[in-house]
């Protein structure tokens, strides 16, 4: 089918991205607010649009274990989860990256219990930032669809798994016009997955044997080297996608940053609302810009230093929180800017934690507040 536009929720947009990428194995376990992804994938399979084995597991831990073993046989693998499900997978997340299994997983950001809730909060996936997975944060359903396809391309080049992440409700359940690319376009962009090594009795390779200290050391170093290529490869993958479809996002996006005196920095859906705030403040004569961080792992340190080096003030908005640490993006941006001559003053505000609503007015208030105060080293609760 050729490219066509229809109204889709963010979750269903992901499902169509998956269909077009043609994975062969999809181990699943349902959880709110991710379940519509799997429901639509199952519908597409039943309708004959997707030729994949869908395996229902008894837990997310088992679903991820099945993803790893399936991926090691050399086939393309997808799964999706959220919140508690991601928590239960934690052990297997490390195993997947260590086994160099380029699984793509969608995660729908949702608060982690206790207390029990269903609201958009990015702490679930950000707490997995050190598991060796590539992490993309998306603002719209269209971006999530496009990013699933890009993620397969990047992950399979470096043999590392990748998460494509969007927030509960504001993106996952938001129905919007989405363009579904044509299959020929995706086939042209994403070649079949044919890894050099795979588990196949006919070849006689294996994975999972015990190693000594030096072998483990070298293995971790190799993972790091693979990760070092990701920023560049992700940038190229996005450019190639843009050439084919007209849609590109970069690994981070600068919005009105050229002459900016103050730059807002955030991830995911908040970036959309921040665009409105930037436009209104610009009309009032304030030179504000927005830095949308899309690729969070690996963190694009050099790009961040380049973009923010001439900016006097940076305001980081985190819809996530680690007690004892603060906002994840605030922490990462401060670390990225360390040692830079003329480093900007970095304000970190905790907004929207627990899914609390963040309006353009809230963001404008934040800018006014930051203009009037000196940045604190720690993240500050707002609202």
């Amino acid at each position: 089918m050729t490219a066509h536009r229809k109204l889709l929720s963010g979750n269903h947009a992901v499902s169509y991205g998956v269909m077009l990428a043609k994975p062969k194995v999809i181990p699943v376990y349902p959880i709110t607010p991710q379940t519509p992804i799997l429901e639509k994938i199952t519908e597409l399979q039943t309708a004959g649009e997707l030729d994949a084995d869908i395996m229902t597991a008894e837990s997310e831990h088992s679903a991820m274990a099945a993803c790893i073993t399936a991926s090691l046989t050399g086939v393309r693998v997808f799964t999706a989860t959220a919140s508690q499900g991601l928590m239960l997978m934690h052990e297997m997340l490390h195993y997947a990256s260590g086994a160099r299994a380029p699984i793509i997983m969608a995660n729908v950001n949702r608060t982690i219990g206790s207390p029990w809730a269903f609201w958009p909060d990015q702490t679930d996936s950000l707490a997995q930032r050190d598991c060796g997975w590539i992490q993309y944060y998306c603002e719209t359903g269209q971006e999530s669809l496009d990013t699933v396809i890009q993620a397969f391309k990047v992950a399979e080049q470096v043999m590392l798994p990748a998460m494509v992440i969007h927030e509960a409700f504001y993106v996952s359940h938001s129905v919007e016009p989405v363009e579904i690319p044509g299959q020929e376009t995706v086939d042209e962009y994403l070649p079949p997955f044919t890894p050099e090594h795979r588990l196949d009795p006919a070849i006689g390779e294996s994975w999972g044997n015990v190693v000594n200290q030096e072998m483990y050391y070298r293995h971790r170093q190799d993972m790091g080297r693979a990760m070092e290529h990701v920023c560049d490869l992700a940038q190229k993958a996005d450019q190639a996608w843009q050439e084919l479809t007209g849609r590109g996002y970069g690994i981070m996006e600068e919005y009105c940053c050229d002459d900016a005196k103050v730059v807002l920095a955030t991830m995911g859906g908040l970036a959309g609302t921040a665009r409105e705030a930037v436009d209104i403040l610009r009309q009032k004569g304030l030179k504000v810009g927005l830095l949308k961080v899309k690729l969070f792992r690996p963190f694009p340190v050099f790009q961040v230093r380049k973009i923010l080096s001439a900016i006097p003030k940076v305001i980081v908005m985190d819809r996530n929180y680690a007690p004892g640490t603060g906002g994840f993006l605030h922490q990462e941006i401060k670390a990225a800017l360390y040692g830079l001559a003329n480093s900007p003053e970095v304000h970190g505000y905790l907004v929207g934690v627990g899914g609390v609503n963040v309006s353009p007015e809230n963001i404008m208030d934040l800018v006014n507040r930051a203009m009037a105060e000196t940045a604190f080293p720690e993240s500050v609760w707002v609202g």
Partner: protein, 178 residues
């Protein structure tokens, strides 16, 4: 930009109604965004559905704090925050057999009522009032075009398509105060 809030309880069809309305606006060439928030997919818990309609792509990812329209599926929700941000310019449509005057105490709005339950029952739809409310909405806003709404109701109703279309037409004709 037109900003609309549907307030109902899980199982009443407020979410589906929001999506039907979004699809109808989309089919008339508008940019739309519709999403729901709820505390777990359970019957009876409050569900808010937010719909934005505009002539250009919609970038906001936040709740609607100052709605142009509030559609309330269940008057028992009116004691909560259902009317937050509504003012004298806000169209408030309440699903109730009671008259508009009964709800005056809640504030100064452009108030309308529709007996969605009566319409649903007469059309063999039990307690599912969403088609009637969508019809009433189309009348009050003069958009989307009733013909398009009927078409989308037919496309998206999983069962009882003819009954839902009739309920939609009845809602269009019977909304009180229009």
């Amino acid at each position: 930009m037109l900003e609309i809030r549907f307030q109902g309880r899980g199982g009443q069809g407020a979410q589906t109604a929001g999506y039907i309305l979004a699809e109808a606006f989309f089919q008339t060439g508008k940019y739309v965004q519709a999403f729901s928030t709820y505390g777990g997919a359970r019957r009876g818990t409050p569900v808010s559905t937010f719909i934005r309609v505009d002539d250009k792509p919609i970038r906001l990812r936040c709740d609607i704090e100052k709605p142009n329209v509030v559609v309330c599926f269940d008057p028992s929700l009116l004691t909560g925050n259902v009317l937050n941000g509504a003012d004298e310019n806000t169209i408030v449509l309440i699903n109730s057999q009671k008259s508009r005057e009964y709800f005056r105490e809640y504030g100064n709005f452009k108030l309308y009522t529709i007996d969605g339950l009566d319409i649903a029952r007469k059309n063999n739809l039990g307690r599912i009032v969403n088609s009637a409310l969508i019809g009433a909405f189309a009348k009050l806003l003069n958009a989307p075009e009733l013909k398009v709404v009927e078409q989308v109701v037919e496309e998206l109703s999983p069962v009882k398509k003819a009954e839902n279309i009739r309920a939609c037409q009845d809602g269009y004709l019977q909304v009180a105060g229009a």
